[in-house]
Structure formats: structure tokens, C-alpha cells
């Protein structure tokens, strides 16, 4: 049964600087080939969850203090990012972080770090195929690209590593709506055509739940809700607080928030 599970996060707690507890017993499962969406407002702990998986907590002085993370059945919590990336997990960081003083193509070549020395021409072609807009710009310094181009670049760069599990942290943040649609379409295509399993962290719940198969909602370092994407889309709480559709179409009032808080405690 468990061979379909690519990633299992088992009741983890994460603490920064030995004292700041951010995650309190988070559990989450990702099946092979799925797109799983992780939703939640700012500060909920989404980025921390991704970093716990990718090993990037370590440089920030964070640590998984309880629970376990299994990738393909093997424990990977608190391993180094060098090991975890080589096992096939690549995280695309929040806020688009290109190498500004490297050209687009050099940026993409950094994506080959986990398999240094192997040929990469075909992979460049694959990235340019998904993101044709990058082709013309391959010799441009990444620092001079538009926000949209940078987002394509950082996703493309991650693809160069042949990830088995791709962790995307808010790819739509700060992009024009038209562009958001395009990026989500490409994410969906990458999943479908390459068979890449994807964890998609988003605040744009609407778009995320359209391409995801399963979703989790996080608040205050805990998972407060989970379900199939189409069920979450219909869930009145998700509708109200993450899809921006109040039950009666009215603006959210203080009372509604109280009601939500009650429900959350109950969950």
C-alpha cells in the first residue's frame, strides 16, 4: 500500500533557534504523481513545512524536533540539503530568487549541480520548450528580467535537476493575473507530461485547487483541514476564508471570524 506514497510527513514539530516552535504536529502525505496543495494565510508555517522536507531549515537554525519525514520510505528529516536534493527533492524558494548576475542559461545550468558532469543539453531544450519566452533571453542577466520571466526561470532551473518531488513556494505571488494563469497551466503540464510529483504552497487557493488533486489547509503551525481538491473547493470555510467568497456575499465581519475560530478549535 505504501509504495504509492512518495512523501510522508509524520507528526513533525519544527523549532527555530532552539526556542521558537513554529510547527506543532504536522502530518501530510503525497502520493506519487499527485499535485498536493498546501494552503494557509501568511505566517501559518507553509514555508517552514517545505523547508523541513528540503533540508533548508538547517541554514536558518531550524530543526525537526519530533516526528519523521519519509521520502520513498526512507527517513530524511534533518538531513543536509546536499543529500536531499540528490535524493530527488527540489524546492523552488518563495519570492523568486534568481542568480541576478548570471545569465538565464547560466542560471539553468546551476540546476545541474546534483548531477554534475552529466550531459544537460536536452534538459535545456526541455526547459525552453516549457518556457519559450526564456529562449530569446538566454544571454540576458537574470537580474534584468521581468517578474514573470524570473518565475519561469526558477521553475525551469529546478526542472534541470530532474526532481522526483518538486516543492513550489507561492509561485503566483506578485504576478499579474494573466501570468498567474499561464504559470499554473505550465505547472499542471509539468506534472502531467513529466510525471513530476508536486507540492504547491499557495495563498491563491482558487487557482491551486483547480490543478491539485488533494489539499491541506494550515493555520498556526497545524493542519486544520484536508481533503480532495474538489471537496475543499465546495467547503464553506475554505470558500469564505481562502476563496474570498463570503456565504452571503457580504464582507467578512468580526462575528464571522469568531465563528471560524470556534470551528477551527473544534477541528
Amino acid at each position: 500500500m505504501s509504495e504509492g506514497k512518495l512523501l510522508v510527513i509524520n507528526n513533525i514539530s519544527v523549532v527555530y533557534s532552539d526556542v521558537i516552535q513554529v510547527l506543532k504536529g504536522v502530518s501530510l502525505t503525497v502520493e506519487k504523481g499527485q499535485i498536493v496543495s498546501l494552503l494557509g494565510s501568511n505566517g501559518a508555517g507553509k514555508t517552514t513545512t517545505l523547508k523541513a522536507v528540503s533540508g533548508l531549515l538547517k541554514p536558518e537554525n531550524g530543526k525537526v524536533t519530533e516526528g519523521s519525514i519519509l521520502f520513498d520510505g526512507l527517513p530524511i528529516h534533518n538531513h543536509s540539503p546536499e543529500m536531499i536534493t540528490r535524493a530527488g527533492i527540489i524546492q523552488v524558494l518563495e519570492g523568486r530568487q534568481p542568480f541576478k548576475y548570471l545569465t538565464i542559461e547560466e542560471n539553468l545550468r546551476v540546476g545541474t549541480a546534483t548531477r554534475w558532469g552529466k550531459p544537460y543539453r536536452q534538459d535545456l531544450d526541455m526547459v525552453y520548450h516549457y518556457f519559450p519566452a526564456l529562449t530569446k533571453r538566454r544571454k540576458t542577466l537574470a537580474g534584468y528580467c521581468s517578474g514573470g520571466e524570473m518565475q519561469m526561470l526558477v521553475i525551469g532551473r529546478a526542472l534541470m535537476a530532474h526532481p522526483r518531488l518538486l516543492l513550489l513556494d507561492e509561485p503566483s505571488l506578485g504576478l499579474a493575473p494573466l501570468f498567474v494563469r499561464e504559470i499554473f497551466q505550465i505547472i499542471e503540464r509539468i506534472n502531467r507530461e513529466n510525471g513530476t510529483t508536486i507540492v504547491l504552497v499557495e495563498q491563491n487557493a482558487n487557482m491551486a485547487l483547480q490543478i491539485a488533486t488533494y489539499g491541506y489547509v494550515m493555520e498556526n503551525g497545524k493542519i486544520v483541514m484536508e481533503g480532495r481538491a474538489e471537496d475543499l473547493r465546495e467547503n464553506p470555510d475554505v470558500k469564505e476564508f481562502y476563496l474570498g467568497m463570503g456565504a452571503a456575499g457580504a464582507a467578512k465581519s468580526y462575528k464571522d471570524v469568531k465563528a471560524y475560530k470556534r470551528r477551527k478549535r473544534w477541528l
Binding site: P81, I90, F99, K100, E106, V110, A113, V154
Partner: protein, 292 residues
């Protein structure tokens, strides 16, 4: 006029070596934000290793040169592994103190073996290497300095521009978290930048040793000269380091030639202060690319 041209050529060749050695310093700073106060001692070590191999071990010159560079590479690598790695993430001042400590350790070690004497290499540069155009006469060693300097500059340029390892190294200097997220072996990059820095320091040490003779104090004090050079060129700019080196080399030679030899070591620092008053980030400090 001849005198001017002569000084110009000497200044440029010496400046080239300063620039080359500063390049190593800048490389360590760019990749790991460490200011290496032991740079001059590593440079001196290169010069003495070459001396030992060429005279005591009697190796053929070319072989001695290659072995020295290999030795410097290993030394840089080992310094990073043993001394710097445990301090990754520690406050800057601790790391700086460590390199200051390393500097005295190396200096002490070299004094123990070679004392404070002045040595010279056996003559090995062919006389024909010199340039003799009537008014301008360039001794072989200056020609060698320019050739070796350009060669290695080109080599490193190609390495950083085209090779995968070179691109990984630049990615760490550019955005370390992003490099980590893609699996770049950041600690290996640190070690590699120390190794390469030690190699360029070693090259400068050998050539400066040919020009001025080999003395522990003289050569390690060139480590101090790296500071006006890199501050002039901008701490984070490799090409700035070369140009900064050329400027300091020219200033020194012209001051020594036209004003007084005793001023030649002071003028670079005076210039430095004035330039910093006008351009606080150095002449070639990286222009930050910012966009929303």
C-alpha cells in the same frame, strides 16, 4: 620620456601581480564573505615552496612551478577544511581573528625554516624573453610577469564563465540560499575558492620573488597591499581587483621614480583614502541590480 615609459611598464607589470593576488582575496570574500588576513603569508609560502623545490630538491623549473601550484591548491583546500569550516555561520569578527591567527602561524613557521634572510632564485628566465626596443628595455622577469598573469587570468576567466564548477561557484557568491536549494555543494565551493585563491597568491609570490627577492617579511607585507587594491577596485569585483592592482602598481612605481623611494609604500594608502571619500564602494563596486 624613456624614464617615463620604463616606469609605466614596470608599474603595469607589478600592478598586474598585485591585481592577480587581490583577485584571490576577492574570490574568497565573494563566495564566503571571509576577509583573509593570511593572504600575504600564503603568497610568501608559494614563493618559498618554489624556492625549496627549485634549489633544495633540484627539480626542473617547470616541474617545480607546477608542483608549487599544486601545493598551494592543497594548502588552500586544507586551510578551509580544518580552520574555516567549523566557523561557518559564526560572527565575522571571529573568522577575521582566525585568519589573523593563521597569518602569524604561517609567518612563524616560515621564519623557523628560512629565517629573515633574503634569498634569490637561480637564474632561469631566458635572456631572450626581455624586450629591447632601443628606448624601452623590459627585463625578462617583467615580460614573464605579464605573460603568466595574462595566461592565468584567461584560464580563470574561462573557468568561471564556461565550466559547470565555475558557474556553481558564482551561484554561491550570488545567492547562497538559492544555490543550496538546487543542491550546490556550498562547502565544497568554499574550499575550492580557498584553493584557487592560494594558487593565484602562489603565482604572484613566485613572480614577485623573482623581481624583489624572497624574504618572509617583504612578501607577507604584500598581503597588506591587497587591501588598498581591493578597496579601490571594490571588494566584490574580480575585474576591479585587476584594475585596482594596476593603479596601485603604477602609483607606487611613479612615486618611487619621480618623488622618492621612501614614499612609494605610503602613496597607495593616501590615494585610497581620497578615493574612498569620493566613492565609498570603491571604483568598481558591484552595482546592485534592483527591481520590483
Amino acid at each position: 620620456m624613456d624614464f617615463f615609459l620604463q616606469l609605466l611598464i614596470n608599474g603595469l607589470s607589478i600592478g598586474f601581480l598585485y591585481g592577480l593576488s587581490a583577485m584571490g582575496f576577492v574570490m574568497i570574500f565573494k563566495s564566503s564573505s571571509v576577509l583573509n588576513f593570511a593572504h600575504g603569508e600564503i603568497l610568501a609560502f608559494g614563493a618559498f615552496l618554489f624556492l625549496a623545490l627549485a634549489t633544495w630538491a633540484q627539480l626542473p623549473i617547470a616541474l617545480a612551478f607546477v608542483v608549487t601550484l599544486a601545493g598551494a591548491f592543497v594548502l588552500g583546500f586544507v586551510i578551509e577544511r580544518i580552520f574555516l569550516r567549523p566557523l561557518i555561520g559564526e560572527p565575522l569578527i571571529q573568522v577575521i581573528m582566525l585568519t589573523v591567527g593563521l597569518a602569524s602561524m604561517f609567518k612563524g613557521g616560515m621564519l623557523l625554516v628560512w629565517g629573515g634572510n633574503l634569498y634569490t632564485y637561480p637564474e632561469f628566465l631566458p635572456e631572450g624573453l626581455g624586450v629591447n626596443w632601443g628606448v624601452i628595455q623590459v627585463p625578462p622577469v617583467y615580460v614573464a610577469a605579464v605573460i603568466i598573469g595574462s595566461l592565468f587570468l584567461l584560464l580563470f576567466g574561462l573557468f568561471f564563465k564556461f565550466s559547470s564548477q565555475g558557474i556553481y561557484m558564482r551561484s554561491v557568491a550570488d545567492n547562497q540560499p538559492a544555490a543550496l536549494s538546487l543542491g550546490v555543494h556550498v562547502r565544497r565551493v568554499f574550499a575550492l575558492s580557498w584553493a584557487i585563491a592560494a594558487v593565484v597568491a602562489g603565482i604572484s609570490g613566485i613572480v614577485l620573488g623573482i623581481i624583489n627577492g624572497i624574504n618572509v617579511h617583504e612578501l607577507s607585507s604584500i598581503g597588506l597591499k591587497v587591501f588598498p587594491v581591493v578597496i579601490l577596485g571594490g571588494l566584490d569585483s574580480i575585474s576591479g581587483a585587476i584594475i585596482g592592482g594596476l593603479i596601485i602598481g603604477l602609483l607606487e612605481t611613479f612615486t618611487g621614480g619621480y618623488l622618492s623611494p621612501s614614499l612609494r609604500d605610503i602613496v597607495p594608502y593616501i590615494t585610497l583614502v581620497f578615493i574612498l571619500l569620493i566613492k565609498p564602494y570603491g571604483l568598481f563596486g558591484l552595482v546592485e541590480i534592483e527591481r520590483v
